[in-house]
Symmetry: C2
Subunit: 342 residues, 2 copies
């Protein structure tokens, strides 16, 4: 019988056992600290490992243990510096629990996302965290029944899935309240079409703030578009062409805010004086832009860390606790917001 043999076939636990003069079981034991092994045997094994340059094959281990200790995080893209700290938080939490995080990107495409989730189905990973999913409630429920999953940054209505986000509603409320405190009464908002509930929640916060301060809520003051920064430009033009243009604009993202700022500057407005603009997310760009863009920071590191910790808690308790954890935001003051002109 001839099997396909890789040229660079690695040394296996068997080779180590032979070299160390012990059984594979003993090697496995020192590898995993799983039972008491005599000092001498331990030493022999460790020497053999070093000599042979042995590194355990996790395919064998994982197959045997029915677990990989790997969690997959599916990102829409790596375009937003925003995700970087979330990932860092995930990695730290994972590392503390003996897990690893691997990433993949879906380009916000349902099919690609499902393809990535194959790793869940084919047992390449133990669990998955979705950062902004394209899947609908039904699909998520199906997944959550069979596997360990979590949503991060973006909730899905009715999905009974572990979810970690910033307090979107509260953050938006605080952002608008801040504009109001700067004397603004005509406050518009740039939001997105589509089903993202973070946008919806931020709209809710915006509306609540207006109500609380007895400012009129005008539907013409909400612009809906895509996430592209060009939409920030379009929105600005739209708002400024209104019979009664706003003096401040709250945007559901920094990218849209940057687009609005860019357009405002090019149309000759002084941002922070003629028009105040506030974003959301606190991506790197908003600190670098001239003028600096006032925004609402998400606790990215904390979000990532919490998502992984909760997910691992679920795994280790063989249970799917599906709470929605909302973490605290923080308003970041920069130059794009200033006192309202009268």
């Amino acid at each position: 019988m001839l099997f396909h043999i890789k040229i660079d076939m690695n040394v296996t636990i068997k080779d180590v056992a032979k070299a160390a003069g012990v059984s594979v079981a003993t090697v496995s034991r020192v590898l995993n600290n799983s039972a008491t092994v005599s000092a001498s045997a331990t030493e022999q094994v460790n020497n053999a490992i070093k000599e042979l340059g042995y590194s355990p094959n996790f395919l064998g281990r994982n197959l045997r243990k029915c677990e990989t200790n790997v969690i997959l995080a599916v990102l829409p893209s790596t375009e937003h510096s925003f995700y970087n700290d979330i990932i860092r938080g995930m990695q730290v939490a994972a590392s503390e629990n003996g897990y690893d995080i691997i990433l993949s990107t879906s380009n916000s495409n349902y099919n690609i996302e499902m393809r990535m989730l194959n790793m869940l189905f084919n047992r390449t990973v133990d669990a998955a965290i979705l950062l902004g999913t394209q899947l609908d409630v039904a699909k998520l429920k199906e997944l959550n029944d069979k596997y360990y999953i979590a949503l991060c940054c973006e909730r899905v209505e009715g999905a009974n899935v572990l979810t970690i986000t910033v307090d979107d509603e509260g953050g938006a409320h605080a952002a608008v309240e801040n504009l109001i405190n700067y004397g603004h009464k005509k406050i518009a908002m740039i939001s997105t079409t589509g089903s993202a509930l973070s946008s919806f929640d931020r709209e809710s916060g915006y509306i609540r703030a207006l109500r609380e301060y007895d400012l009129k809520y005008d539907e013409n003051y909400i612009y809906h578009g895509t996430y592209d920064y060009e939409n920030g430009e379009k929105a600005l033009d739209y708002f400024m062409s209104l019979p009664e243009p706003p003096t401040a604009i709250f945007c559901i993202s920094d990218l849209l805010a940057a687009g609005a700022v860019k357009a405002a500057i090019s149309r000759g407005y002084k941002v922070g004086e003629d028009i105040s603009i506030c974003g959301f997310d606190n991506i790197q760009l908003s600190g670098i832009y001239t003028p600096g863009i006032t925004t609402v920071a998400q606790p990215c590191y904390e979000i990532g860390k919490t998502a992984v910790n909760e997910l691992i808690y679920n795994i280790s308790h063989s249970h799917k606790y599906s709470k929605h954890i909302k973490l605290a935001y923080k308003v970041i003051h920069r130059e794009s917001v200033g006192k309202a002109k009268n």
Copy 2:
């Protein structure tokens, strides 16, 4: 004998075989299209698969085949939108060849990078692509001897490893030539300390352009710092305090260029008139900034695609061809560069 049984034990190929009334071998055959199976058997198997919701366990498959068809890409971080198109290119090339790409981030930390490379050692992945590595030549050689690896975006001197980058030297040369064509004669450069050869190569291109146009090369005109955009600000202040300040600045990255632009604006200079600033990379930011930042675009998508294609070529030929492929750059004109004042 009692083994640890996972509660949610998945259906296996055995269950499918039983349900379909065939052997596991036959199931495997239809799963892999690996041999002719009668139409009726095929149908029965497919039905059973559907009914049971079967999904093959890749741990078993991979263990058996000694391969995973997964390539790991190790990113320094996901902070740069820059990587997004590279990853897209990688995914497309991988997908076309039956591979998957998984990502991880190293935070430019040697230990984390090595930890990620464990996936290579423990056979969780077939190959790895390093985008900006912390490993030295010796380590890279060692890895390249034992595994399939490639360098992407950042070469390492003396490492005989498959490498794909943009033509850094040529791109920098073109950027500086462009400044010269705008009438600039006093051209400074913001570069980085440390060992990144992309910076080194871009300096070489800068110097070659100066020489070719008989402009004097002045060491005081090169500022070395970290990659943080704050260094762009510091560099600008330094240059402008020189007895003979430059009229144009070429930066090895858009982030540094943005820092310089920000500082210039805040010091009252008109960017594109009083001072021209050119970046490198064409990250999203440079198009959004006001003024738009002139830069050198890397063919990111192509770089990622090429890296994966070449790597898979190596794998499938069981050989480590270690050429360095340099792909074409493109100068992107925006407002941050204008005619030199006299």
